[in-house]
């Protein structure tokens, strides 16, 4: 059983600061998307039950080679990286083309391809669906549980108002939600071993891929302006008075 987990390198969101409404990326450490880590954990949990090989797939700039260590330490067996500066902030449709091409190229055909429900920075939730469409695979989104059987998987899809339990034939694309598990923290010896795990690194050319143009354009990306009163009230009485005068309470 081959499980591929698509993971995106993102800036550590907790470290991004805002200056003049602009996000400051300078010196912000890189990490992998938080929900992508849930996807990896889901794969490792399956591996612990069955014979499985877990491959991390990531597209991005050359820093990914370093960032991906986190995933190798957390239980992935190997990684497949498509590296090019142009892939750093690639738009979802472009990323999907690249990932799909990489998946086609893999020697061990993937049975299960896991994604996060959304990437940490862009959170568009498109890439998994697009890859499934390109490869013409069935997909189940928003998984809160995955059980793998012979040639199929039973997946619980968590929607706003209900949960659907579906059976899907493999190979398939599944995207997971953050609540599916609690990613493990790798031990020191796992981290030390991570450096020695196999890495396959390719460039977009080697996938016979002409990177397509982005299908969307970002006109601006600014921190929202908050226009709040910021009145400091001294007591509950003063608060109640203020809210009453605004007709927010005591109607």
């Amino acid at each position: 059983m081959n499980i591929v987990v698509a993971m995106k390198q993102i800036p550590d969101l907790q470290q991004i600061r805002i200056r003049n409404r602009q996000p400051v990326f300078e010196d912000v450490p890189l990490t992998l998307g938080p929900i992508d880590k849930n996807a990896l954990e889901a794969a490792v949990a399956i591996k612990e039950q069955l014979e499985a090989q877990v491959t991390v797939l990531s597209a991005g700039d050359e820093n990914v080679e370093d960032t991906v260590k986190e995933a190798l330490a957390a239980g992935a067996d190997q990684c497949y990286l498509v590296l090019d500066d142009a892939l750093k902030n690639a738009e979802s449709s472009v990323t999907a083309e690249v990932l799909a091409a990489a998946l086609k190229q893999m020697e061990d055909k993937p049975d299960l391809i896991l994604f996060g429900e959304g990437s940490g920075d862009n959170y568009s939730g498109q890439v998994g669906s697009r890859v499934a469409a390109i490869l013409d695979l069935p997909q189940v989104g928003y998984a809160s549980a995955i059980e793998v059987g012979e040639g199929k998987a039973v997946v619980t899809r968590s929607l706003e108002n209900c949960e659907e339990v579906v059976e899907v034939t493999l190979p398939a694309v599944v995207t997971v939600i953050a609540g599916i598990n609690e990613p493990r923290i790798p031990s020191v010896s796992q981290i030390l071993k991570a450096g020695r795990k196999p890495k396959e690194i390719v460039e977009p050319d080697e996938l016979n891929l002409d990177l397509e143009n982005a299908k969307t354009d970002t006109l601006s990306n600014l921190a929202p302006e908050t226009q709040r009163k910021r009145v400091v009230v001294k007591s509950v009485d003063e608060l109640i008075q203020a809210l009453t005068s605004e007709a927010l309470i005591g109607r």
Partner: protein, 421 residues
Amino acid sequence: MIIVGGGLSGLAAAYTLAQEGLEVLVLERGDYSGAKNVTGGRLYVNPVRELFPDLWKKAPFERFIAHEQVVMMAKERSVTIDYSGSELAVEPYQSYSILRAKFDRWLAKQAERKGAMLVTKNRVDDVIMENGRVIGVWAGGEELRSDVVIACDGVLSFTAEKAGLRKPGRANDYAVGYKEIIELPLEVIEARFNLEGNEGAARLFMGEVTQGMFGGGFLYTNKESISLGVVVGIHDLMQGEVAAPELIDLFKQRPEIRRLIKDGNTAEYSGHAIPEGGLKAMGKLFGDGILVAGDAAGMAMNIGITVRGMEYALASGYIAAQAYLKARERQDYSAASLSVYQKLLDESFIMKDFNSFKDAPQVLENPRFFNYYPEMVGDMMKEIYEVPNGPKKKIFPTVKSRLKFGELMAMAGDLRKVMKI
């Protein structure tokens, strides 16, 4: 080879050992090196330049310090001494302002490039001892063995304590520092501090900034931010009425400071302990299978109003690595073999500094330095500069009226002690 703590001392040791081709593992509890490390912000490069010859060209310094200023702050006035010697403005520059989040991360990268393994987000939970000798550490529920452990885990070094090398300190041996990084546009910083290009200013404050307590305030200009902070002795702080975090707020409200940081955005706020008991408070620096470096060994010094620790951290990390290399040649990691560390330290600027300043902490516990003198100098200046409507008094009587006989004697006494520093 395991190093506990990926601050300056740990990284310096790792860099040095990795350069020799040894397998080095650095365990750092923070998300990354420099994430939580606090410093005022000035690094003197001269003492450590030779130890890491390849390192400095690309180091992420903020600004070289070309303007040294001391501000004596009284309640309602202050006196500033500004020194801008030409030697400060020629290469190689003596000191730089730095930001640890940047600097430590960069240093970590250099050590990794040399082949050191840095494992972050991993705290050392215990030290493994066998027959009184350190044989490794516990981290993340795992036993990790090592010939020698170098404890570089900072001021409250848990590793050195567990290995029995240091006792929990007394309050007088520590200060606490509170610091903010306040962001301002480059041009604003240059204008407010009268800087050109990459020049920077270091401004130290004494007196009212600590409300007369043992300590001082500091301000360093970075490229696009200001490091502003207050350092106070824990002992004084425990007795004082003002809570430490308030000191920095009061400091920021002083007119001298307020206008410098106006419209700035506080990007970071931190508090941290500083060892400053001097030589007398230093613990044992080595044992069977263990070496201690940097703040963990108590190697930081408060010389009046400025704290120095980063050079000592870098140099002691380097020297600990040398000591390990010597012990390795002998394949003997006993305390006796590792005692070469003490010898190397004694020969270095570190111990020379600590010896020549060995009385500094005690002298500086004299509250007059932080309370009386700034007030007095301020008053004197006020009278000197005041032009009343009517004839101005002669200056000498002004000064003399301030300096009565008893006062002069006390000053002379204080002065004598200071001369020893």
